[in-house]
């Protein structure tokens, strides 16, 4: 099957391994991702908090292009997803927010996790698993925007989303229930208020350690990089060491599918996950 793909800015930079693992997994599942032609910024980082018109107009442009391609639009980033969905909602009905871009809401906008959790892939994923992630204890981290607000995400369990956990279990990992699934990582304050950001990331790390998880699994390039890059300095500030690898869920899918490229993905992480995976016999 073929779908449109809106990679967003991170996949070019901090989240290259996310993009590559998405490619690998989708190819394995027979999904063709067609990158949205001439895509532009989704408006997440600054537009939506500074200019209401831009916050709708920027994603609207992308949506309109996607609609012309007549296939569903998939995005890997929770922030992109939130902006695109919010805009799609906003452009439906009478209130067009002053935006004149033609968009009829004829396509679905899906986050890549939501997309891969569709029933039609369940069996295929099961078939693809060559190396179950036995012994890997993971906490699933959805962050703010993947599940909320429910009227945008249409998530049934917005306080306690379950999809990523279920996927981890299916891959053979031990998915640990923890209370911080949707806790804020402070990603949006990275540039403005490091103190709060450190506190929030620190809480998440502490809880993952207390839950005796080996790693945190994410589905958002902002969450991943925000936690991964801060572990060392937060640890140093507190006089301790955090060494929890932060995975993109597609990396773990790739690992379970027996992808040969995992090493290239993992070596780009700040907290190197390879020692952990080797100790579990998964690499």
């Amino acid at each position: 099957m073929k779908v449109s793909f809106f990679p967003g800015c991170s996949l070019e930079g901090t989240a290259r391994e996310y993009g590559e693992s998405i490619d690998s997994v989708c190819r394995g599942l027979g999904i063709e991702l067609e990158e949205l032609k001439d895509w532009t910024c989704c408006g997440a980082s600054s537009a939506h908090s500074t200019n209401e018109f831009l916050s709708i107009a920027l994603p609207a442009r992308n949506l309109a292009r996607a609609e012309r391609m007549k296939q569903d639009l998939i995005t890997p980033c929770a922030a992109c997803f939130s902006r695109l969905r919010t805009t799609a909602e906003a452009l439906t009905g009478s209130k067009k927010q002053g935006v004149k871009i033609p968009f009829n809401n004829d396509i679905s906008v899906l986050h890549i996790l939501e997309f891969l959790l569709k029933n039609e892939f369940t069996e295929k994923i099961q078939e693809k698993i060559k190396k179950p992630l036995t012994g890997l204890k993971a906490v699933s981290y959805y962050g703010c925007l993947l599940a909320r607000p429910p009227k945008i995400t249409k998530e049934e369990h917005w306080e306690d989303p379950k999809g990523l956990d279920a996927l981890m279990t299916r891959l053979g990992a031990e998915s640990i229930y923890w209370p911080y699934k949707t806790e804020c990582c402070g990603g949006s304050l990275v540039l403005t208020n490091l103190e709060i950001e450190h506190r929030l990331v620190g809480r998440i790390l502490d809880m993952a350690v207390e839950a005796e998880a080996d790693c945190i699994v994410t589905a958002c390039p902002l969450c991943q990089s925000n936690i991964d890059t801060r572990e060392e300095e937060i640890g140093a500030a507190r006089g301790m060491t955090y060494d929890l690898p932060i995975f993109y869920f597609t990396e773990l899918m790739g690992l379970a599918f027996g992808s040969k490229d995992t090493d290239t993905w993992f070596k780009r992480h700040i907290i190197d996950p390879r020692p952990l995976l080797q100790s579990k016999g998964l690499m």
Binding site: E159, D160, W178, P179, E210, E212
Partner: protein, 1482 residues
């Protein structure tokens, strides 16, 4: 009431009450006591509803169970209440006054008349499921009593339906049952259960096709339970014992029955007929019995020795098997009848091999499958050569190919025309064959067998492909043109099926034979078309499975037995419960345990059995994988255990049709689903529990015996938090209403938790504390100040569990506006009330309207009437409410429901009739002692025969007996005969508790002609065998002590005479406001005369000051209509401008003096009851410049201003309202309940006049309880601003340059707010009207606030402690109009329970004064809680029997020993004590 008049001429004197919680119970008791027959319908197995689950009740901290259980007993024993438990309304026809209701009653599987509630069944029940009464915290058995005090006091069996395994079993084996028994290591019982449906367990434990496993629900999750392996395990276990126990045959019969054929069908029929006692002979043509089991199945699957064991078991039961005897032309069926056989069962099987019908089939080297197996099983050798082709895909083909390998063929393979998917052979058989090296050629069919010299040399086959499905549903194989191949073979074994040979049947008879050549029989009874001949097995079905044949044999045996007894063959057969379907939810996966197999390298060398048995350990573990699909496993252990023979597993659903005049709905509520707020982690966090769970945790009869423990680790929690409004006051979940009770129950739970465990530090997170009921605010303040309960005003948005400690973190904003994170050990979600799904369905069936939340819609002025005439409502189904309001509304509903059928009062009631009492004067005590075994409850611990023999030695005892169950109906009859026969004049029963059983035994002796007080009871169960279970000897000694004491006391029993007094049927109602007028009208409509006394010169009271209700009902119109109705009612006499000046008498017979009119004329009236409705009034404030500045008014005054259109719209910019003026302070420490909604009502009115007017409501807690919360939400939506203030920082009102200035500290802003207003409205307290004199005159108790005090805050909200006097309205406590009206109706209902009787019986167990001894010291007068004793004209104390409640307080206090309490006289108590201590000295 707006009842239809359609049936007014023919009303029915019965009422149906739906829902048997406290509301339904109260309504039922009121109605039954008022002369109506009541049908009390409840969906549970026992009555009691939610209240029975609670631990304590606020604000009195009474034990909930202790106060409800006497009511349960009363309902259970009431002659005119029929309890229909496990039932629901199915259909309703007719109209008000005359309804026909169809009720569906679930089978209980326990006969209510026989069950004694002893619980022996639950002891042996192997199935455990979550105990819903204990909120799922612990388990109960599938056979259960909802709770120990349950009424009906009987067990019930929980069945979800037939378990899929049993349903799938052609023999109908109780599969889930024997699996459950194996899980409990009850192997013998498991096997006995299997044999109830299958006498060949060892065989079926090996070669069954086990459709049960295919159906197993577990298979949908991981793998099916290894049911066959379990069956084999128990048979191997038994056959490994010395000698299996053979079941006993109850009655031997003379009838001879012949069975033709000794295969599984024949053996099965033989077994079940022999079990019935018939003389059974089996005729077998071959030299050994067993049929296909012996000749068709190789030893490596079913060893001959195992077959022999099952057959020997059957023979031991008396079945005779005659071998080498062919029934056919030589020895015909007719001949059997002539030889004296009464019936014949044919089961000759399907023996003839089907032919391939291709060329070469007669060559040497072609041998048919069954023939081959028969030869080998007979011990002969039949070499097939090196290459063997077996044709076919069934089990026979597999058996042949594997046998051939064992017999030395080098290459044996299968040729099958379809694919693996269609192959009928069992999967495991195919796998084993493949393990042994068998090759299967799929999609291939033989076309011709090639021979050389008359001997097989090869075979031509053709490849096939699958085409369209055929009639069997499988795809039809179609040959592929030109794909022929030839293979070399030494022999060919066709195994494509068997056919039936009916040539043995006598031709002259009229056999019904199908087109396919099978004998046709009735599918249920297995009767053939020839009389007295039955048939079953393969000869009927064509080649099928062993278990089908077994089932057929058993069914035929039942038919034959019925036939010989002259019963209908098919009646009641072929019906069973629907299959239990359920979603087991999240369960732990666990792999199936499979038996070990002999390694294939070894097994192909011999006929040694391939599969080995499961070990005992593995079997038990495997059995525990069962999911109990049917809940009850039908293991039938309860049937064995029940000595009263009360269990019937074949009970069916019942349809009951009853005729009633009206219906009361009291279905209660269901707890709001705690999962709607996922952020509280209810399912995932073990230490987050619901308030109901915590009630059970606190309860002494709960899962932790009342110890405060938390679920995760059963440790004692210290830091406990309550989160209020969890699922209430939350529009995002569709629960916009306030649940009304949670603030108070959380407070109570905090207090009780603290009382149970001093270390507890309770914290309650709340939005507003809603302590709006009588005595609630004081209770809340006590919790805060005396118990140290911390109240934090904050809505908690999330709970976080610490993964290791399972402690919980709450983040909240403190009063100081600081973010605080605090850790707790246990969190309780104060869940609200929701209308239950069942009540919505009920409303649908009855076609009554619901509100937008699903509560029953009512009119504020008719608070118990539903939208359908003749159907009334009470309790939490109407709106969330607590117990007293429910009880009072229940009485109100019962008044409404009985009013429309008042004419039919007494037409359908049952009355007791007793023989005359025997005069025992002058007789020496002749005491009969009956000692009860209570099944094994007492008998299993206490040596009952020894106690009985001991009782024989006691003085005065002239008869002793022991009973299995003294309370059973047959024993009661026997007891009556014994009392009469032996002339007994005192009776002692040593059994369970007088609480439940004393009235029953008293009735029994009364029926035997004895005075009911000549009875004494010794509690040797609850107080002996139950508490000393592990000390049998000591328990026996204690039982003797208890019996000795009871006998000693019984010697002093005297008959007590009860006195009958007439009832004056007139009522006096004091107070002519809304409540009093409504009461008067209600009583008049019930057919009683009323005198309505009003102090003022006009009726109406506070109604004159009310203009509109919060929902905009016009009060003035209502008032005028009410007064007019009263005025024209001929039964009501109104006295205005009158007061009471004296009163005497007691219930049924009061005399009251009244002075009235301008001249204060005196008159005395006689009446049977009194209703106090003296009302209340608005407090006139002294504070906030009231009376000093005319811009300061009360809410009542504001209402008048608005109503008379005097509101100054032009100049009013800002209005401020101050709540709690004169309420909740030192002077009036209570909440006036209606001021919050009055303020909102008036504020919304002003906003409607002009939305631009700013309105500020300064409040302490907004108490818009229940559905009133909607108006609070609406008010905030309308822009009305609410500012909270504390008692410490009250608003300040001043005049600043002529302007009215209000200054208040706003905690939300953290700043002082100043406002200039044009109108200040004070929401003032409600205080009782002057009632000092009345309370003194009538000796009525009041609260310290001056409101009248009811007999019991929870359960007797409109009764006074003095019988015959009732109260309602504001005289009771502040409340809004609808609640007053409902209470007024309640008072009517309560009054009717007295007025509807012509006479009352008084006396019995009452205090009696010996006038000679009385010194008139006044001790009794002071101590009596009911104000009964008084000093009479002879200057001695007098206690009227009609008023005495028998509590004994005066008896204990009287220094002169002048007062004796009958039935507990000093003599009796001393005798008891003496009997105990005299012996102790020895």
């Amino acid at each position: 009431m707006n009842a239809s008049n359609e049936h007014k001429d023919n009303p029915v004197g019965a009422v149906m009450v739906v829902g048997a919680g406290i509301g339904g119970i109260q309504a039922s008791l009121d109605l039954a006591e008022s002369g109506f027959r009541v049908y009390l319908v409840d969906e549970e197995s026992a009555i009691g509803g939610s209240m029975a689950q609670l631990d304590k009740t606020f604000p009195t901290n009474d034990c909930s169970m202790c106060i409800i259980s006497p009511k349960l007993v009363e309902v259970g024993r009431h002659l005119n209440i029929d309890i229909l438990s496990y039932a629901e309304i199915e259909k309703l026809e007719g109209s008000a006054g005359n309804f026909t209701v169809q009720v569906k009653q679930k089978p209980r599987f326990v006969d209510l008349d026989k069950c004694t509630g002893c619980g022996d069944c639950a002891e042996v029940c192997p199935v455990e499921i979550q105990n819903e009464f204990d909120a799922g915290l612990i388990n109960r058995k599938a056979v259960y009593k909802r709770y120990p005090q349950a009424i009906p006091n009987a067990f019930a069996i929980d069945k979800r339906g037939t378990s899929p395994c049993k349903d799938a079993c052609p023999a109908g084996i109780h599969v889930q049952g024997y699996v459950a028994l194996i899980a409990q290591s009850k192997f013998k019982e498991a096997l006995a259960l299997i044999r109830k449906n299958n006498p060949l367990p060892a065989i079926c434990g090996r070669i069954c096709t086990h459709p049960c496993e295919t159906a197993c629900t577990r298979g949908k999750i991981d793998e099916p339970v290894n049911i066959m392996g379990l069956k084999r395990f128990v048979t191997d276990w038994e056959y490994g014992q010395e000698e299996p126990e053979i079941p006993s045959v109850e009655e031997q019969r003379d009838e001879k029955i012949g069975i033709v054929g000794s295969g599984p069908a024949g053996l099965s029929a033989a077994f079940y007929l022999a079990l019935e006692g018939y003389q059974v002979t089996v005729f077998e043509a071959l030299p050994e019995p067993g049929g296909m089991l012996r000749w068709g199945i190789p030893d490596y699957r079913l060893p001959g020795s195992i077959l022999d064991k099952d057959i020997q078991y059957i023979q031991k039961l008396g079945v005779e098997i005659i071998t080498d005897t062919l029934i056919g032309p030589g020895h015909s069926i007719d001949a059997l009848f002539k030889e004296g056989f009464k019936a014949v069962f044919l089961s000759v099987g399907a023996q003839k091999s089907m032919r391939l019908k291709i060329a070469g089939e007669d060559l040497q080297g072609v041998v048919h499958g069954v023939d081959y197996l028969k030869e080998i099983n007979a011990g002969k050798d039949l070499p097939l050569g090196d290459r063997v082709a077996v044709i076919g895909g069934g089990n026979v083909a597999i058996d042949v190919v594997r046998t051939a390998l064992r017999k030395g063929s080098k290459e044996a393979f299968i040729i099958y025309r379809r694919s693996r998917n269609e192959m009928p052979a069992l999967d495991e058989e195919i796998i084993e064959a493949e393990e042994e090296g068998v090759k299967i050629n799929y999609l291939m069919a033989p076309q011709r067998i090639i021979g050389i010299d008359g001997r097989v040399s090869g075979m031509e086959c053709i490849r096939m492909e699958l085409g369209e499905p055929d009639e069997s549903g499988r795809q039809r194989p179609v040959p592929i043109e030109g794909s022929q191949i030839t293979i070399d073979v030494d022999s060919v074994v066709p195994a494509i099926g068997q056919s039936i040979d009916l040539s043995f049947l006598p031709e002259k008879q009229d056999w019904n034979i199908s087109a396919r050549g099978n004998l046709t029989v009735d599918p249920v009874t297995f009767a053939t078309s020839v009389p007295r001949v039955f048939a079953g097995g393969d000869m009927i079905s064509g080649p099928a499975t062993v278990v089908e044949a077994v089932g057929a044999g058993r069914e035929a045996a039942i038919s034959i037995s019925r036939f010989l007894n002259g019963f209908d063959l098919s009646e009641g057969r072929g019906t069973k419960l629907p299959v239990a379907e359920f979603n087991p939810g999240e369960i732990t996966k666990e792999p199936r345990r499979n038996p070990l197999k002999t390694p294939f390298s070894e097994r192909i060398k011999s006929f040694q059995e391939v599969q080995q048995a499961l070990t005992e350990e593995k079997s038990i573990a495997e059995a525990k994988r069962c999911l109990d699909c049917g809940v009850c496993s039908e293991c039938l252990q309860c049937v064995e255990a029940c000595l009263a023979k009360a269990v019937y597993h074949d009970m069916l659903e019942k349809q009951i049709t009853v005729n009633v005049g009206s219906i009361i709905l009291a279905p209660g509520f269901s707890l709001t689903d705690p999962n709607i707020r996922e952020e509280y982690g209810y399912k995932h966090y073990q230490n987050v529990v619901t308030s109901l769970e915590f009630e059970r945790i606190l309860s002494a009869s709960g899962p932790y015996q009342g110890h405060v423990k938390r679920p995760s680790d059963l440790t004692d929690p210290e830091r406990i938090a309550w989160i209020q409004c969890a699922g209430s006051r939350d529009i995002s979940y569709g629960k916009g209403y306030c649940s009304s009770v949670c603030c108070m129950y959380a407070t109570k739970e905090a207090i009780i938790a603290k009382e149970h465990a001093a270390q507890v530090k309770p914290t309650i997170f709340y939005m507003d504390i809603r302590a709006h009921g009588k005595g609630f605010d004081t209770y809340y303040e006590r919790a805060r100040d005396e118990y140290g309960v911390r109240y934090i005003r904050c809505q908690v948005s999330k709970i976080v569990e610490r993964p290791k400690s399972k402690n919980l973190m709450i983040t909240y904003i403190s009063e100081e506006n600081k973010v605080v994170e605090e850790e707790f050990d246990l969190i309780i979600l104060s869940m609200g009330m929701s209308p239950s799904l069942n009540s919505r369905m009920l409303a649908d069936k009855l076609d009554i309207a619901l509100d937008h939340y699903g509560f029953c819609q009512t009119d504020p002025l008719q608070p118990t009437a539903t939208s359908r005439p003749g159907i009334y409502v009470c309790g939490a189904f109407e709106a969330p409410k607590d117990i007293p309001e429910t009880v009072s509304q229940a009485s109100g509903a019962s008044a409404a429901a009985s009013e429309i059928v008042a004419e039919a009062r007494g037409t359908l009631v049952r009355t007791e009739k007793f023989p005359p009492e025997r005069d025992i004067a002058g007789e020496d005590p002749k005491i009969g002692v009956f000692v009860c075994h209570c099944g094994i409850n007492i008998g299993g611990i206490v040596d009952v025969p020894a106690v009985k023999e001991y009782a024989r030695t006691l003085p005065g005892v002239s008869y002793v007996d022991e009973n299995l169950y003294t309370c059973s109906q047959d024993t009661q009859t026997k007891m009556k005969e014994i009392i009469q026969e032996h002339g007994l004049n005192r009776v002692v029963v040593a059994s369970c508790s007088p609480r439940t059983h004393e009235p029953l035994f008293q009735a029994t002796i009364r029926e035997a002609g004895l005075n009911r007080y000549l009875f004494e009871m010794a509690n040797i169960r609850d107080q002996c065998s139950w508490v000393h279970m592990d000390k049998k000897n000591e328990a026996t000694e204690k039982a003797k002590d208890l019996v000795r004491m009871a006998v000693a006391s019984a010697g002093f029993l005297v008959p007590l005479q009860e006195q009958t007094l007439p009832v004056n049927k007139k009522a006096l109602v004091i107070g002519g406001g809304a409540s009093g007028a409504t009461s008067a009208l209600g009583l008049a409509n019930q057919g009683f005369d009323v005198l309505l006394l009003e102090k003022e010169k006009q009726l109406g009271g506070n109604l004159h000051l009310l203009h509109y209700t919060i929902d905009n009902t016009d009060v003035q119109t209502y008032m005028h209509s009410l007064i007019e109705q009263v005025r024209i009612n001929p039964s009501i006499q109104v006295i205005l401008d009158g007061v009471i000046v004296d009163t005497t008498g007691f219930k049924g017979n009061f005399k009251t003096g009244i002075m009235s009119g301008p001249g204060m004329a005196y008159r005395q009236i006689e009446h049977g009851v009194t209703i106090i409705a003296t009302g209340g009034e608005e407090y006139k404030p002294k504070e906030y410049l009231y009376g000093e500045d005319k811009r300061v008014v009360t809410q009542q005054e504001l209402e008048e201003i608005i109503a008379f259109k005097r509101f100054d719209l032009r100049n009013t910019k800002t209005v401020v309202m101050i709540q709690c003026v004169g309420s909740r302070n030192d002077e009036h420490p209570y909440c006036s309940r209606l001021c919050c909604s009055a303020a909102i009502k008036n504020a919304l009115k002003i906003k409607a006049l002009d939305p631009e007017i700013n309105i500020y409501i300064l409040y302490r807690d907004i108490r818009t309880y229940g559905l009133l919360e909607d108006y609070y939400t609406k008010a905030r939506g309308a822009g009305i601003i609410f500012i909270r203030y504390d008692l410490e920082r009250k608003p300040e009102v001043s005049i600043e340059q002529g302007a009215l200035k209000i200054s208040v500290y706003d905690p939300a802003l953290g700043e002082q707010v100043n406002m200039h207003v044009q109108l200040l409205v004070l929401s003032t307290a409600i205080i009782p009207r002057e009632n000092d004199e009345l309370s003194t005159l009538m000796k009525l108790q009041r609260t310290r606030e001056g409101f009248f005090l009811e007999a019991h805050m929870k359960l007797r909200p409109v009764d006074f402690a003095t019988d015959g006097i009732f109260l309602c309205g504001l005289a009771h406590s502040p409340k809004p109009l609808p609640e007053s009206l409902s209470q007024a109706a309640a008072a009517v209902s309560r009054a009717c329970t007295l007025l509807s009787h012509d006479s009352i019986t008084v006396g019995g167990m009452v205090a009696v004064v010996d006038q000679e001894k009385c010194a008139a010291c006044l001790n009794c007068v002071r101590v009596c809680p009911y104000n009964v004793p008084f000093i009479n004209e002879n200057s001695v104390a007098q206690i009227d029997a009609a008023q005495c409640q028998g509590c004994g307080s005066c008896t204990a206090e009287c220094p002169g020993k002048a007062i004796q309490l009958m039935q507990a006289t000093d003599k009796q108590i001393l005798a008891k004590a003496g009997a105990l201590f005299d012996i102790c000295k020895n």
